[in-house]
Amino acid sequence: MEIKDMTAVGLSAGIRSGETSVREALDCVLKSISENEDRIHAYVTLEEPEKLYKEAEIIQKKIDDGSLKGPLSGVPIAVKDNMCLAGMPTTCSSKILENFHSTYTAEAVRRLKDAGVLILGKTNMDEFAMGSTTETSAFGPTRNPRNPDHVPGGSSGGSAAAVAAGECFGALGSDTGGSIREPASFCGVTGLKPTYGTVSRYGLVAYGSSLDQIGPLARDVTDCAAILSVISGHDPKDSTSLERKDTDFLSCLNEGIRGMKIGIPKAYFGAGLDQEVGDAVLKAASEMKSLGAEVSEFDLDYTDYAVPCYYTIADAEASSNLERFDGIKYGYRAKDYEGLHDMYKKTRSQGFGPEVRRRIMLGSFILSSGYYDAYYLKALRVKALIRKAFDKAFSGFDLILGPAAPNTAPLLGTSLSDPLKMYLGDIYTVPANLAGLPGIVLPCGTDAKGLPVGVQLMADCFSENKLLRAAYAYEESQKAAGRKCSGCRE
């Protein structure tokens, strides 16, 4: 097999057996980057090639002397540009952080480096992870490698596109309301959002702190499991980090899907869902049934309330989290101003893009005196109801199956003019963030235009193993049927 067609886990095994080398793996991605990046624009910052080759040599030595043995050692991986990496810029694709250089490394990224991963650079995203298309990036949009006239999804669109275009062998994204799963669906790759608290948020620039989770975007289910195994685990530097010991997500993969109970929320297949997407997702469900899963429909309560609940909470938290960008400690400062407060206002008005300003304004209003109870506390009460609805669902089902998005990737330039319509597209992904649940999205077909469709599986908190087992069984059946794996390029 050519290096470019290998999975991350396959590549690392090849490097460790001496069949190939870290240098050859790097040659391969840099070639793909030079061929595709002008068109795709997946990266905001790429590490200098000389530094990468030097690092590749260091990793190779450690593999050769046996001090690096892990399933990702030697693999070139990309990181979303809202995670810090010491010595590199962290821009969040925002003008306000254009000149910011990280002074420390995010815990998830540090764990990857410790596992012998070669970090290629930082991927493009919607500004501060606010958006579903990567078009709110201050540095220009990323294009979907499956069809460059279309968006890659967002906010982790750069990470998804980099994986789909072979510009890396896997990537980290972050998911506050679907920002890993929706771009995975649009780009035809595999993406996983872990249970809240599984991956440390230390060094992740905060958007909605009670919802944010880092997770993998990868070429297949096994790669997702391998990356998650490396980045998960307790971190005292994140006070919401869970004391989780069950962080081996690889050994469960072969346990199969037989006997698993899978529920399909009826409301997920109502008005608003594109017919082709619905058909592809239900076909995946029936294939899982033929593999031995018990599949049935059920009523999931409060489905229509998840999006308004999510935007109330996320924007409130965002308005608070983004107060720190004040033109004093780091980032952009306006040139002409009169006094401190004018400097704050001008810096933020010039430094933030329209979507970020829109969410900060709504969040500020929601948290303001006189409205806090009516909006913010109300949303937190609805969140409790949504969580309860999932508790009820998981008392009868192992997994919940549905789409990741109501449609395939939209054309570039068609989404931002109607923000509310764009937000409504998050209906299938925000519930997992509100309830803290893990969710995985993997390819299950294409529409008539050849754009990928993803199927989403959600599990109860701490049940990533169930997600991965079922997803792996489905993926294996697809490979056996001759369909290409998620990361394999055309």
Partner: protein
């Protein structure tokens, strides 16, 4: 859906809270956007949440304490190097008080 009319006083207040200054055109847009979003969020009021505790965190967590011990080195020079203006090892800010 109820109609939310966002008046100038409300926008003035949001500008102060959000630390943003809007042009006339942006004010009009902000009024329309906020009105639309608040009307949409209002649908949460269709649900009876009497007696439901607000859930700020999905797991039962309490404050996490640790001893106040320095474990990282002195990163002040690196940290300060990101500041848009600095002087004598300190952040430089516009005059805060009038003379």
């Amino acid at each position: 859906m109820s109609e939310h009319v966002i008046d100038d006083d409300t926008i003035d207040n949001i500008e102060i809270l959000a630390k943003l200054s809007l042009t006339d055109e942006e004010r009009l847009q902000a009024k329309a956007d906020l009105s639309e979003m608040l009307s949409y969020i209002d649908r949460l009021n269709e649900l009876d949440t009497q007696g439901v505790e607000p859930m700020s965190h999905v797991f039962k967590v309490s404050n996490v304490f640790r001893e106040d011990v320095v474990t990282n080195g002195d990163g002040s020079a690196d940290t300060l190097s990101n500041a848009p203006a600095r002087k004598d090892g300190m952040y430089q800010v516009p005059r805060t008080f009038e003379e």
